[in-house]
Symmetry: C2
Subunit: 223 residues, 2 copies
């Protein structure tokens, strides 16, 4: 855990890595259209042509950045889900465990990225809301399999619930997760700064509870 940081201090990151990092920060902050090749180059201390040299185009740069940031989250989700299944043996995991495996990995990644903690939250959220067609396509590719997996798992946990109800409530749960990630920066609107210093884990924990409650009560009421 600690050993890696000593390397980072000495070793200057490769241009490629700096470009990816800059792209992630600026995409999270300003979205696809608000992100320019020049701003990326400036933020990454690189030449304007560097990004096109390393990635070919703006689209390819953003796509690669998204791949690098989202893939590990999805991998961790499946890992946690499998752990929960193993832990429960033949009985299905609880909704709480399932949603934990869905949401918790985001918190882990947020906590890992020390600089501008909430940048990753916005990045993940933006993946869903960016009105650019090629991002929508990529997102569908990355996420539709995960969604199918969770639907299947929730169906096993709630075999009495109609599939349609599972669909709807999973949709609501995912929407809540994304909405929260996207909106967290705006907590000040309601609290006037009171909650701003809250820690990542608290918010993730609350989110898991909230979503679980909404799902369980909703699905149970439908049967």
């Amino acid at each position: 855990m600690i050993s890696s940081s000593s390397q980072i201090v000495k070793t200057k990151l490769s241009t490629r890595k700096r470009l990816i990092n800059a792209t992630a920060r600026l995409f999270a902050q300003h979205g696809y259209n608000g992100l320019t090749m020049r701003s990326v180059a400036l933020e990454a201390n690189a030449n304007l042509a560097a990004a096109n040299y390393h990635f070919g185009s703006k689209d390819a740069l953003v796509l690669e950045m998204l791949r690098e940031r989202i893939q590990p989250i999805n991998a961790r989700r499946i890992e946690l889900l499998d752990e929960a299944k193993a832990r429960n043996g033949k009985t299905a995991p609880s909704a709480r465990e399932i949603f934990h495996s869905l949401i918790f990995p985001i918190g882990e990644e947020i906590a890992r990225s020390s600089k501008s903690r909430w940048s990753l939250a916005q990045l993940v959220a933006r993946t869903f809301t960016e009105p650019v067609s090629f991002i929508e396509r990529m997102h569908q590719r990355f996420f539709s399999q995960i969604a199918k997996l969770y639907h299947q798992e929730l169906s096993l946990a709630y075999p009495h619930a109609p599939p349609k109800e599972i669909h709807w409530h999973l949709h609501l749960a995912v929407s809540s997760m994304l909405g929260s990630l996207a909106q967290h920066r705006r907590l000040g609107d309601f609290t006037e700064g009171e909650c701003n210093e809250e820690e990542v884990n608290e918010m993730i924990d609350r989110l898991i509870r909230f979503v679980t409650h909404g799902f369980v009560k909703g699905v149970n009421a439908s049967s």
Copy 2:
């Protein structure tokens, strides 16, 4: 309800109105940066210079459009909230009633806008997620008072709950609402087309129930 449509058929809309409508559609679909004055002019069957003539600038055009679409929703929210309070006399309205007044007006407006039903849902959601500073400022101006009002009302309904918990759960509820509105178009990701034809009211109703469950259980557990 029906009488107004007969006028619309005959009367050609003013250039100003057509520009606003086109702006709403394109903003919902492509966001602020993806919306160009030329695309607005084309969609509205107007000249490129018309928008600048009528509104002064792109920012002013978008701002005016947002004002016209969001103001009535907020007005209706307060109206429904007041009705609920009057209905309950001295006792506070239930969380269900409060969230109904918050969410239902969006459904009403969506149902009213016959053309491309979900455009307004996306528009409202985009108001929250657009990474353009002047939109953020406007949004804060429009919504912070509403947020304060609802926080106050929920505090009365749950006097035993710590204010901080009210804050958090209201935030989660609003985030869920916005996430759902933004994501509804993507229901196909999970359902492969099964839920796409669902009616507006069903989604609104599910959303209200989901949010209420999450809020009530969460706030009660905290005390």
